[in-house]
Amino acid sequence: MTAPRVGRTAIALAVSLVGSAATLAALAGGAAWAAPLPEPGYGLPRDVSVDGHRIDHLLYFTLGAITVVFAVVAALLVWSLARHNREHPALYSHGNGRSIAVVVGAVAALLVGVDGYLFVHTLGDMRSTFWNFPRAEAAEGAVRIEVNAHQWSWDARYPGADGKFGTPDDVVTLDDVRVPVGVPVVVQLASTDVIHSMYLPNFRVKQDAVPGTVTRLTFRAKVPGEYEIACAQHCGANHYKMRGVLTVLAPQAFREWLAEAGEDARRAYDPEDAEAHWGWEWRTEP
Amino acid sequence: MLGATLGRGAASGLPAPDVPDLKAYRLRPSEEEVTSYVGMVIFLGSWAMMFAALFFAYAVVRVRAPGWPPPDQPPLPILLPGLNTAVIAASSAAVAFAVRAHALGRHRRAARALGLGAGLGALFLALQAVVWAGLWRDGFLPSGGPYPSAFYALTAFHALHVLVGLAALGVLAIRAPSPRGLSRSAVRLWGMFWHFVGAVWGALYVALYLL
């Protein structure tokens, strides 16, 4: 009659074990996405930004357009290579009104249809989004970050609770930028040695960091996860190693992280440590 | 070297038509002289682009600077360089005179004028050296930021051109007296070069010292 009791405890134990194992597994599973994933296939990297599709649209439009142009012209060429060979008697013509009209017409069509389309759309996208910093900063809950690029890493600085840069509660990170989903992120870039270029493949944006000036970059994240910060401008022997991680968090998670990190920062603040005080007054007009 | 290269002004070998106005006839350029003239014009145009780029660089660093001249640095002297402007202008005039004299076959006169031009050119360099020495003593060094950088780069680069022109004028002055000593276009082309160098100085003086 003890056996059943043993059995019951055994079952309870097993259940609890399985349960905890499951939760661990779940956590592990949760941790699994917490690292930049390699991109599937050869196409564009996953677009995880709100506005990246504008650029992708133009990329695919141009790809389609030039494929058609290339195919048509190549077809003409191949045709005349195949048919108009030694046996074919050459036509004596320096070009006449009609043939010239065909050339000019084709060029005009391409200029208006392709170049024109690209110009208009790019103008719109740049003005409305990619280079529209006042609008981004004015947006509700916009996140401001100062990034100092140097050989060969990315220092990021958040204003902390007081919303001001260069104060004890600034959150400073190394090669680790965190942003919330949905809201505009405005980055002000500087460099202390050579020119670098902050490049976010999954967000389709890029901006040089130039010594002696502050440049700006803005984007909006859409999908939580970890993505890569790449350096696009050759900046010395270890240019290839200048890799950071950009973590996109749910708004709540981001707020918690920032508050926590702000606390740590205030505790760890050391006025003597000049190295740590590279921040600058946020530039409204750089 | 350039003038020597371009200036192969042999007469065109055409039979001389008997024209009333002998002076005009003497000044009539041969085919080869026109060619070398065109070459020199293109060369100067091209070299002007180089100086244009230098001036552009000067303008950019100046516009970016908070103040000009920066508060902690001495203003440049105006008088001595101003005098220098007059010197190089006079030198240009002398050379212009020499060119015409030589073209008309007055070789001794041409030689004297060339000598004078060269002398004034040397004086220009001497005064320039004085200016540099003075500033240097005041601790105005190229490493002191964009302001001295621009000043030394432009003036030194210009001085190099003066040096080249000077050497050429010297050689011409020595060769000029003998009737067959020089081709017409050798004198003419080096003259053009010299005027060019003078003009650049004018621009330099205004941009660097006055503005």
């Binding site: 290339f70 013509s93 | 085919e31 964009p146």
Partner: protein, 597 residues
């Protein structure tokens, strides 16, 4: 019987006796034909060097951290034949510089410019033969400086061919190597300027009687416009290099800024302006001669006049004029003012129009021709294709928004390899195969030529397409080990296959080397004056190779450059072509029977 015009021309360009001493003849020669051959040798040797450097780049991307076979121990013995990050930056920097300034430029401009301009316009020599010689020797000096830079202990230049400061100053690249290379750029600039002055003057002043501007062969148009661009913009590069040298060696502060500046500070972007004001015209400097060569070669091998000659000429002129107004498209992400950026974008999109006219005119020239597929024609046709790809990919980059993503990725590298490393390079190859008989009196072997062609065409397309695809997927350029990035790891295989294609391409080039030497020193039969039945003066009015004085009698030009398949001419001469200076039996100039297309 020679006309007054010819007498005058003869008078101003008398025949000089050829020099007798060995040195004056083959070394310190002022004969434009000798100088052209010297430029060809200098260029081809550095082409080999640049190609070898490219192979090292490709090796690194195919097999990172693995010792380079054969060459490795020799070059990087200290690291056991493995390419290190520091070495890698020297590799791509010198590869780019060597290819652009010291390989393609001397072949395309130094060799063909020198050889063809006087011969095609009917002159006895350049306007300034001695200046021409100085240009060659300053160029050789610059090549020596580059070679010397490899021997310095910190290695050669490493700041990229664009040499952007502050990286290219002592802040980023201490050591003599970078200095020597910047000096080399300055010196080669001086050489180019001298050459340009000579070319421009020669075309303006030395054209044979009757050779009006609109009768110039398109090759001459291309070379002339290139020379004009050189004369105008190489000096700008010169001053950039000069200021950079001052920053490196005399402590000035034009380009050093921020924390790396002692105080105040200069402007790194200033250098980029100066560089690209030169840099964009430079890319047209490299393509215009190729365009010109194609214009003539396609017409001659299609046995059909070039379609809308005037249109092509004006298109090339327009490109030349616009070339300096688009340079900002290299600087979209440097933080330039939006308005400026938009302006540059507009001009960049506009400049593609004349280029399209040029390409479509080629197609129209081939259309309904009677094509002959000799090796020069094969290379010419390949050039049309690859330029099409290269040019069209330029449209992506012309747009600021797409450039935000594509800038400094391999897509840019693919774009400019298709335009420059493909179109300019095999455009030059077209010229080599086409004018070899005129240069050396013998024709290159056709069978070897064909083999070389297929290796080159297929190889180049594969390699540079590979670059475009990885660029599209986001891979940045100038990465010692791209696979540090997880988002690039999926491209490992593609990068490796691209490398295999590159090795095949390189191997294929030795068919050309072999062909070259075999023809030169073997016992090939003399080519004859006009093996291709061409129409321009260098073929119709003089022997192969031409005598020291080029033309026994300075020709008088009576018609345009491509009088091919004119029925009237065939009736009078039984041939399908008439030379530019050929006086037809009965002296009658056949009316341009503008038979409908």
């Amino acid at each position: 019987m020679s006309t007054i015009a010819q007498v005058l021309a003869e008078a101003s360009q008398p025949i000089h006796p050829p020099p007798t001493s060995f040195w004056r003849r083959y070394v310190f020669s002022t004969d434009h034909k000798v100088i052209a051959r010297q430029f060809l040798w200098a260029g081809l040797l550095f082409l080999l060097l640049g190609g070898t450097l490219a192979m090292l780049i490709r090796w690194q991307w195919a097999f990172p951290y693995r010792p380079v076979p054969a060459l490795g121990r020799l070059l990087f013995g200290s690291s056991g034949g493995v390419i290190g990050p520091a070495t890698y930056q020297h590799l791509f920097t010198t590869h780019g510089l060597v290819m652009i300034f010291f390989a393609v430029t001397p072949v395309l401009i130094g060799c063909f410019g020198n050889f063809l301009i006087p011969l095609m316009i009917g002159a006895r020599d350049m306007a300034f033969p001695r200046l021409n010689m100085y240009s060659l020797w300053t160029f050789l000096l610059s090549q020596l400086l580059v070679l010397a830079s490899f021997l310095t202990d910190l290695g050669s230049a490493g700041a990229g061919w664009t040499t952007f400061p502050p990286l290219s100053t002592n802040v980023g690249m201490p050591g003599l190597g970078q200095t020597l290379v910047v000096a080399a750029i300055f010196v080669t600039g001086v050489s180019s300027t001298m050459g340009a002055i000579n070319y421009v003057t020669t075309v303006i002043r030395m054209r044979a009687p009757g050779m009006g501007y609109l009768r110039l062969p398109l090759t001459v148009w291309g070379l002339w416009l290139t020379a004009i661009l050189n004369a105008l913009f190489v000096p700008v590069l010169g001053s950039a290099a000069l200021l950079l040298l001052l920053d490196r060696n005399f402590g000035t502060q034009f380009f050093i800024a921020g924390a790396s500046a002692v105080r105040g500070g200069g402007d790194p972007i200033l250098f980029q302006h100066l560089f690209w004001i030169f840099g964009h015209p430079e890319v047209y400097i490299l393509i215009l001669p190729a365009w010109g060569i194609l214009g003539d070669v396609l017409a001659i091998f299609a046995r059909k006049p070039h379609h809308w000659y005037k249109g092509t000429v004006w298109a090339m002129v327009l490109v030349t004029v616009l070339s300096a107004m688009v340079y900002g498209h290299h600087m979209f992400v440097t933080g330039m003012s939006p308005l400026l950026g938009e302006g540059f974008m507009l001009f960049t999109l506009l400049i593609s129009a004349p280029s399209m006219v040029v390409v479509l005119n080629w197609v129209a020239t081939l259309w309904r021709g009677s094509l002959r597929f000799d090796t020069p024609m094969l290379f010419a046709l390949a050039t049309v294709f690859v330029f099409g790809v290269g040019g069209l990919t330029g449209l992506f980059l012309a747009d600021i928004s797409m450039d935000l993503y594509l800038h400094d990725t391999m897509f840019v590298v693919g774009h400019f390899h298709f335009t420059m490393a493909a179109a300019s390079f095999i455009g030059a190859m077209t010229g080599v195969y086409f004018w070899f008989p005129k240069l050396f009196g013998r024709s290159l072997d056709e069978r070897l030529g064909r083999a070389h062609f297929w290796f080159t065409f297929v190889g180049i397309t594969a390699v540079f397409a590979g670059q475009l695809v990885v660029g599209w997927a986001g891979q940045q350029r100038r990465l010692f080990d791209p696979f540090q990035y997880t988002f690039i790891q999926g491209l490992r295989g593609l990068n490796q296959w691209t490398s295999y294609a590159a090795f095949a391409l390189f191997a294929g080039q030795f068919l050309f080397v072999w062909n070259f030497f075999k023809t030169l020193f073997g016992k090939a039969a003399p080519a004859g004056a006009n093996p291709w039945e061409a129409t321009t003066l260098e073929w119709t009015e003089t022997s192969s190779p031409p005598p020291f004085h080029n033309f026994d009698r300075i020709p008088e030009v009576v018609r345009g450059p491509h009088e091919l398949s004119n029925p009237e001419v065939r009736r009078l001469t039984g041939r399908d072509y008439a030379g530019q200076a050929e006086v037809l039996p009965g002296g009658g100039e056949p009316g341009r029977a503008a038979a409908g297309v």
